[in-house]
Symmetry: none
Subunit: 217 residues, 4 copies
DNA sequence: GATGAATGAGGATTCATTCAT
DNA sequence: TATGAATGAATCCTCATTCAT
C-alpha cells in the first residue's frame, strides 16, 4: 500500500504523468529495489502496476529506460540541490560550527533517505552494473558534491574546527560514518531495536572527535 | 588472465576439482562480479571458461548453486576464522593497545580483501537479493563476528583505551571507517591516485581519536 | 489437413480462442496422438501450428497445461454427458430392450469416437503416465459412469433380460467387447477390410448371448 | 526389491549377462513401465541400477536399443512359443472341449502376465509410438498367433462347439473378454477387491455362451 | 568391463519488445 | 492512450551419447 505518493510527486515533479504511469513507476521501484533490475521482468512490473505489458513500453522505450527514469531524478534530487543549499548556508555562516552543520545535514538528509529508501537502494545496487550510471554518478559526486564539500571542509579547517588533513579524507571519513549508520540501521538490521537519537549523537561526536584539532598534540 | 589460482586454491581447498571446474569457477567469479549474478548467462560463463555449457551443470546443479559455491566459502573463509585467530591474540595480550590491534587487523584483512576482491564484491552485491544469503550472512556476522568483537571492545574499554559506549556502536563506527576506505579505494575510485599508507594511518587516527577516552572532558 | 474444426468447436465450446490458439490445439492433438506427449517437442507443435514457440506459452503456462487442456474436455464431453442422456432414456423406457440400448449406445458413441479419435487416443495413452489424470479419470468413471451403468444394468436384470451377475462384471464384459472392436478396428488393423455392420452385429449378439438368462439352465 | 530375477532369467535366457547388465535391465523395465520410454532418462536408469551412465551404453548402443532388448524377448516369449505348444495340444485333442482349452489358456497365460506385468505394460504402451515395433508385433500376431488360433477355432467350430462365425471375430471377442479382465484387474483397479476365481469363471462362461451354437435358433 | 567427465544439440520456458486494434 | 496477442531470441537446463582413463 504505497503511501509515498507525495515523495513520488516531488521526485517526478515537472513530469506530466498519467495515473498508469505513476503506477508503473511505483511498481518498478518496489520490485527493482527488492530483486534487482536484472531479475525483474517487465511482466512482473505490469502485473503489480495493474497495467498491460505494452503500456510500459508506451511510456518507456526500453526496460533500461524505466530504470534510468527512476535513477536519474533520484540522483539529481538526492545529491545535487541539497548541497547547493547547504553550501550557501555555510558560506553565509548560518551554521556556526562544524557540529551544527553536521547535525543539520544528518537530520535533513536522513529524513529524505528514509522516505526514498527504495529508490536509493536501487541507485546503489545498480550503479556497479551500469558503467554509464557509474560515470554519471561520479560526475555528480565529484563535480557537484565533493567540490563543494571540499570548500565547506576547508572553511571549517580555516576556522580551526577540523584537523589539517586532505579535505577528501575528511569527507570520506565523515560520509563513511554517516552511511555506516544508515546502512546498519535501515539495510542490515532494520528489525533490531535502535535508539536513533543516541546513535546519531554518538556518530556526530565520533566524527567531531575524530577530526578535532585537539588531536594534534 | 586469472593469476589468482593460489587464492582459489585456498578458498576452495579440500574440494577436489577438475581443471574444467576451476575454469568455470574463475569465469563465474569474474563475470558475476562484473555484471551481477542475474545479468550473467551460463552460456557466457561457459564460453569464458572454454567449456561446454552442459559441463557447468554437471558440476553445479543450477546456476544458483554455482553462485552459492562461490559465496559460501568466501563467507566462511573471509569472515569467520580470521576473527577467531585475532580474538585469541587479543585475549592473550599479543596486541598491547587497541591501536596495535586495529593496525594488525586492517593490514591483514586488507591484503586478503585485495586478493579476493571479486569474490567479496559478489558477496555484497548479491546478498540483498537472496534472503537465504542474507540470513546466512547475518548469522555468521552476529554469531561469529560481532559476539567476539564485542568482547574485544570490552577488553579495551576495561583498559580505558576506548570510550564508554555500547560495543555495537564502537564496532559500527570502526567498521564503517575501514570499509569506507576500502570501498572508496577499490570500488569507487580505484583509478585515482591514493597514498595508501597515509590514508590508512589517517583512518586509524580518526578511529582512535573518535573513540578516545580523552573526549570525556 | 485438419477437417475436424467442427469437432473442436464442440469440444472447446464456451472457450474463447484466438485463431492461433486453435491452431496450436489442433497441432498438439495431432502430434501428441502420434508420438505421445513426452516425445513431442513444443518446437514441433509450434511449427506445425505455424506459430512462434512463445505463443504456445502465452496460452498454456506449460506443456503439461496444453496436454490437460486437451484431455480435460475430452474426458468431460466424452464420458459424462452422454451417459446422463442415455441413462434417462433407459429409465424412461425409451429403449425397450437391452439390445436396443446396446445398439443405440454403440452407434452413437462409435460416431463420436471416430471423429475424436486422436483425442481419445491421447487420453488412453497418457493416463498411465500421469497419476492426476488417472485419478481424475477414475473419479469420472466411477462416479459418473459406472454408478449410472449399474442402475441401467440392474434395470435390465430386473426385467430378466440380463443374467444375474454383479453389475460391474456385466459392465466389464460389455465394455470389453465393444472396446475390443473399436481398438481392433481403428487402432490395430485400420487398414484391414472390415465389414463394420456385420462385426457390430456379431459383437452385439455375442454380448447378448453371453449375458442371456437362458444360460441358466 | 526386485524378486523377479527368475522371470528375468527366463526372459533373457541364453543371453550372457553381467550382474550390472541385469541391474540395468531391471531398472529400465521398472522405470519404462512407470513413466514411459520417452519420459525416462538414461541417467535415471543408471542411478536406479547403481551403475555409471556410460555402462548402459557399453551394453546397449542406444537408449532405443535398451527398449528393444526388453520388448523383443517379451514379444517372443510371451506370444509365440506358448501358442505353438497349445496348438499342438489342441490338435492332439489334449483339450477335450473349447472350455477346457480356454480355461487352460487363461490360467497359464495369466500367471505369466502377472509375473511379467511391467514388461507387458511397456510392450503395449510403446507399440503405438514405434512403427517398427508395431510392424514387428503385427507380424508376430498375424503370422504366429492368429494363424494358429484360426486353426484352433476352426477345429472347435468343426466340432460344433463354437458358433459359425469368421474365426477372426471369434478370436477378437474372446481375446477382448480376457484382456478386459486383465486390464481392469491389474491396470485400472488393482486396489479394488476382486474375487479372481469367480470373475475368471464368469468371463469364461460369458465367452462360451456368447459363442455357443445354441444361439442359432 | 566400467567409469564418469565432457559434450553440444535440443528441451521447455521466459523475456523484452512490437504492433494491430 | 492503452491493450494484450504475438514474436523469436535468449535463458537455464536436460539429454543421449562419447571417450580417455
Amino acid at each position: 500500500m504505497p503511501k509515498r505518493d507525495n515523495v513520488f510527486d516531488i521526485l517526478f515533479e515537472n513530469q506530466e504523468m498519467t495515473e498508469k504511469q505513476k503506477k508503473i513507476l511505483e511498481a518498478a521501484v518496489e520490485i527493482f529495489s527488492e530483486k534487482g533490475y536484472s531479475a525483474t521482468s517487465t511482466n512482473e512490473i505490469a502485473k503489480k502496476a495493474g497495467v498491460a505489458e505494452g503500456t510500459i513500453f508506451r511510456h518507456y522505450k526500453t526496460k533500461k529506460d524505466l530504470l534510468l527514469s527512476i535513477i536519474a531524478p533520484t540522483m539529481a534530487k538526492f545529491i545535487a540541490p541539497f548541497f547547493i543549499r547547504d553550501f550557501n548556508k555555510v558560506l553565509l555562516s548560518e551554521y556556526q560550527s562544524f557540529e551544527d552543520f553536521l547535525r543539520a545535514v544528518i537530520i535533513n538528509r536522513m529524513e529524505f533517505a528514509k522516505k526514498n529508501f527504495p529508490m536509493i537502494k536501487i541507485l546503489f545496487q545498480e550503479i556497479p552494473f551500469h558503467p554509464e550510471l557509474k560515470e554519471q554518478f561520479k560526475e555528480h559526486i565529484i563535480n557537484h558534491v565533493i567540490k563543494r564539500l571540499k570548500l565547506i571542509v576547508e572553511e571549517y579547517q580555516k576556522k580551526g574546527e577540523i584537523i589539517d588533513m586532505p579535505p577528501q579524507t575528511v569527507i570520506r571519513l565523515t560520509v563513511s560514518s554517516i552511511l555506516g549508520f544508515v546502512i546498519g540501521r535501515y539495510l542490515m538490521f532494520p528489525e533490531a531495536k535502535w535508539d536513533d537519537e543516541a546513535e546519531i549523537e554518538r556518530t556526530i561526536q565520533f566524527i567531531l572527535h575524530g577530526l578535532s584539532t585537539y588531536n594534534k598534540e
